[in-house]
């Protein structure tokens, strides 16, 4: 019997750690914003959007009309490149029921960001988080990051890291 205790200990430790792995992503900390009104922001819009959306995009102008998907991105961010076509497709499909709003954060220069928009032909509006205010207000963790704001103007969900098609569908399913 005495010989068995190291094995028993190993089994317990192993079970605990496997559970720890399976319990999901501990860094996907639920945002404190969930359930609270979305913090407002006003961003200078990128040139391609100025005609339709104005010089500056203010979040509160659109709150309460449609659900809003706020996507924080940067031109140097590799996963953002996977996300961009997906978001664009969702935008084209659900344009009249949903607003997708891009926020360019922590970018090296506006030229690179504009290049990114043109490369993927993004038609949903994007603005620049000039002084990092949005990043701070929303408790940014790392780009890409996505916040879903309900029709009532409250944050429903926060997704840190890249979205995959399934997650995006699931998110949209909650509000559409």
């Amino acid at each position: 019997m005495k010989r068995l205790w190291p094995f028993a200990l190993l089994v317990v430790l192993g079970a605990l750690l496997f559970w720890g792995l399976r319990r999901g992503d501990p860094s996907a900390l639920p945002s404190v914003l969930v359930g609270k009104p979305a913090p407002d922001f006003t961003l200078p819009a990128f040139a391609p959007y100025r005609a339709e959306w104005g010089e500056r995009i203010q979040l509160s102008r659109y709150l309460g009309q449609k659900p809003i998907l706020v996507n924080l991105w940067a031109s140097w961010c590799v996963p953002c490149r996977d996300e961009a076509p997906m978001l664009e497709a969702a935008w084209r499909q659900y344009k009249n029921r949903l607003l997708i709003l891009g926020v360019n954060v922590q970018d090296t220069n506006p030229g690179a960001a504009l290049g990114f928009i043109q490369e993927f032909g993004l038609t949903f509006p994007s603005g620049i988080d000039e002084n990092g205010r949005v990043w701070i207000d929303y408790g940014g963790y790392g780009v890409p990051e996505t916040f879903l704001i309900g029709k009532d103007g409250k944050v429903l969900y926060r997704h840190a890291g890249p979205l995959d098609p399934a997650t995006l569908q699931e998110l949209l399913g909650k509000v559409l």
């Binding site: 010989r3 190291p6 094995f7 190993l10 430790l13 192993g14 605990l16 750690l17 496997f18 559970w19 720890g20 792995l21 319990r23 992503d25 501990p26 860094s27 940067a74 140097w76 961010c77 590799v78 490149r81 922590q106 970018d107 090296t108 690179a112 990092g132 990043w135 940014g140 963790y141 790392g142």
Partner: protein, 671 residues
């Protein structure tokens, strides 16, 4: 040929060679044929070449800014300085595994030199053909694991199509200080080192030759321990210089996890001496070497799986479950092998409490208990969450409270252990013990009267006690030798230092440990800090210093924007004079990081460290302002000195001595 192609190809080659090597070891073991073993030896060299090619390909990709390689696209930036580019391979998961695997192939290859393919080993520490296939096979298995993980799960050379034109660069925390270039490499060199004693131990358990492996792998254990110690010190130094809170150890889960192999290895280092000398504690040695090896994987698992939140948890990859499965299988198989022979490895002699082996065993028990405490503290948040779903964290106070008494007992044992003779204590030893006890008491009491806290006084007492112990032993050795050979004391000392390097080296290491504990006690107890917002030209008097903010300037560097506060410091007290000078703490902003990283400006002096941090800066109607924090911590410098002494002591033991080999030749055949 592109770096991606070369890398991918070399990885597959390395995996193949490792699999072939493992297969050859199987044949060599079951067919008892030296030719297979000979081929396995050669294969280890081929695997090393393939691994080096893969590693070289990664460096190639980084140096030529080849963003078509995913690792490069994710962790590299063309604007990084050259040294950052060179060290980027170990800035993230895939590259780290590649580095680890490459070092493993290197160590396997070195072990293969010792393998004798026919007959009995001729040279010192040779591996005979009975054990060699097993030992080499274990090492090949580890290699197969690493290369398979890379080829199938975490491929460093995955392609990005279309390639981006620029990447975010490595984690800014790693770019912020050159120490990051060495800390991970030293750690890996240490971790990998323990695979060799482990492999020998497995061979020993299977072939039922329980005695010689500890001696044969002593060199490996020492070298791995030395690297791990150096690595931990470099890590502590890095955190002191980069994290900007003026501390060097935070009991962070990953720090703890990397502490586990070090604690276990330290225990093993000491119990293995008992086996070498007296043939005792064999099951201790097997268990400790298994646990040390498993702990190195446990540490990687914690770092890479994201099971527990930590500053070190560098993102989760798919490798967590695989590492866990591997470490658990290794532990199961090894403990099964041990339980199979447990009745045979039982100790036949006894260990007396008041003897060298008693003290060594006591030390091993202490280290093992502390390992357990640290392990429980580290996984406790997970246990609680599993049981009732609550999120808790175990903070530094718990660990400090547990570690302090442990430190006291360890320092006590460390002092008397080497003074005690093997087997049983002799009457003249009592006199030495009384002297040591007196030093301890007087040192502690004098410090208390001087006004230091109890903990610090005890640390001072224990430090003096350890110095006295080393002094006593050296003094006695020198006297005996001088008297018996009729030579001068200086000559005798020089002789002893050369002929008994192991003992001398251990004295050096022990002095380092005692000094380190003293530094920790003082720096924990007498740390002072203060913070104030200053406008340019404003002065601030605090902690014996007159701090004046001279300027605040912004510098654009290729990979970051730095704000530098220029602070002039004058001393207002006698001690403060040491601090005088200009300090330039900075805040570095990296485009990929959501918050600026402080880069403190530190002046190391023999007494206090003066540590300035720029917390915040801005501008209002009164002008530019900066919030400056100053931390004055005593004796921190000595912690780094202690680390260096420990490493130097280890090197001293390892240094090949030209004098010793011929003198040992008559008895060498039995070694």
């Amino acid at each position: 040929m592109t770096p991606g192609l070369l890398g991918g190809f070399s990885l597959v080659a390395a995996l193949l060679f490792s699999v072939i090597g493992l297969g050859l070891c199987f044949f060599a073991y079951f067919q008892r044929d030296g030719r297979y073993l000979e081929a396995a030896k050669r294969t280890s060299g081929l695997a090393l070449l393939a691994a080096l090619a893969a590693f070289g390909a990664l460096e190639w990709a980084l140096l030529t800014d080849d963003f078509s390689v995913q690792y490069v696209a994710l962790h590299h930036s063309s604007t990084s300085p050259l040294w950052v580019k060179l060290v980027t391979p170990w800035a993230a998961l895939e590259g780290s595994i590649l580095l680890w695997a490459t070092l493993q192939t290197l160590y396997t290859w070195i072990v293969s030199w010792r393998v004798h393919t026919r007959g009995l080993p001729g040279g010192k520490n040779g591996l005979d053909p009975y054990r060699a296939p097993i030992a080499l096979g274990v090492l090949f298995t580890v290699q197969v694991f690493f290369f398979a993980v890379m080829v199938f799960l975490a491929h460093p050379f995955n392609a990005v199509i279309p390639p981006p034109t620029e990447g975010p660069g490595p984690n800014p925390l790693l770019q912020n200080h050159w120490m990051m270039a060495v800390h991970p490499v030293l750690m890996y060199l240490g971790f990998v080192g323990f695979s060799v004693p482990f492999a020998y131990a497995v061979a020993a358990m299977i072939t039922r030759r329980y005695q010689s492996w500890v001696h044969e792998t002593r060199w490996w254990t020492m070298i791995a321990w030395g690297f791990l110690t150096a690595g931990k010190m470099a890590g502590a130094w890095w955190s002191y210089e980069v994290l900007g809170w003026g501390g060097y150890w935070a009991w962070d889960p990953v720090e703890n996890a990397s502490f586990l192999p070090w604690l276990l290895a330290t225990a093993f280092l000491h119990t293995s001496m008992v086996q070498e000398r007296r043939g005792l504690l064999r099951s201790w040695n097997f268990s400790l070497v298994i646990l040390t090896f498993v702990a190195t994987f446990f540490m990687t698992f914690l770092t890479r799986s994201g099971v527990i939140q930590s500053v070190h948890a560098f993102g989760e990859g798919p490798v967590g479950p695989v590492f866990l499965a591997f470490l658990l299988s290794v532990a199961f198989v090894s403990f099964y092998l041990l339980s199979r022979v447990s009745s045979e490895v039982k100790d036949v002699g006894e260990v007396r409490l008041l003897s060298r082996e008693g003290a060594l065993l006591g030390g091993a028990i202490l280290f093992t208990v502390l390992t357990f405490v640290v392990l429980v503290g580290t996984v406790w948040p997970l246990v609680v969450e599993a049981l009732n779903g609550a999120k808790v964290s175990v903070g530094a106070p718990f660990f400090n409270q547990m570690a302090a008494p442990f430190g006291v007992f360890m320092l006590l044992l460390m002092g008397i252990g080497p003074v005690l003779p093997w087997r049983q204590s002799k009457p003249q030893v009592i006199r030495n013990l009384l002297i040591l006890l007196a030093v301890l008491l007087i040192g502690t009491l004098a410090s208390l009267i001087w006004g230091w806290t109890l903990g610090v006084s005890l640390a001072v007492g224990l430090f003096l006690y350890n110095l006295a112990a080393v002094g006593l032993m050296v003094d006695q050795g020198v006297r005996e030798r001088a008297r018996s050979l009729g030579i001068s004391a200086a000559r005798a000392l020089a002789d002893l230092a050369v002929t008994n390097k192991r003992r001398f080296g251990s004295h050096i290491v022990h002095v380092g440990v005692a000094l380190g504990c003293l530094a920790i006690a003082f720096s924990q107890a007498y740390r002072v800090e203060a913070q104030k917002t200053l406008y340019i030209g404003e002065t601030w008097k605090k902690v014996g210093l007159e701090v004046r903010l001279l300027d605040l300037r912004q510098v654009q560097e290729p990979n970051r924007i730095a704000t530098i506060a220029v602070v002039d410091v004058r001393g207002t007290s006698r001690q403060g004079l040491w601090a005088e000078g200009q300090y330039r703490p900075r805040l570095n902003v990296y485009p990929v990081m959501n918050q600026p990283l402080p880069s403190p400006s530190v002046k190391y002096t023999l007494g206090n460290d003066y540590y300035f941090i720029l917390q915040q800066f801005g501008q209002d109607e009164r002008g530019l302002w900066a919030t400056v924090r100053v931390i004055v911590t005593p004796l921190v410098l000595w912690l780094w000195v202690a680390g260096m002494i420990m490493v130097l002591g280890t090197l001293y033991i390892l240094w090949p001595s030209g004098l010793r080999a011929p003198a040992k030749a008559p008895g060498g055949a039995t070694a």
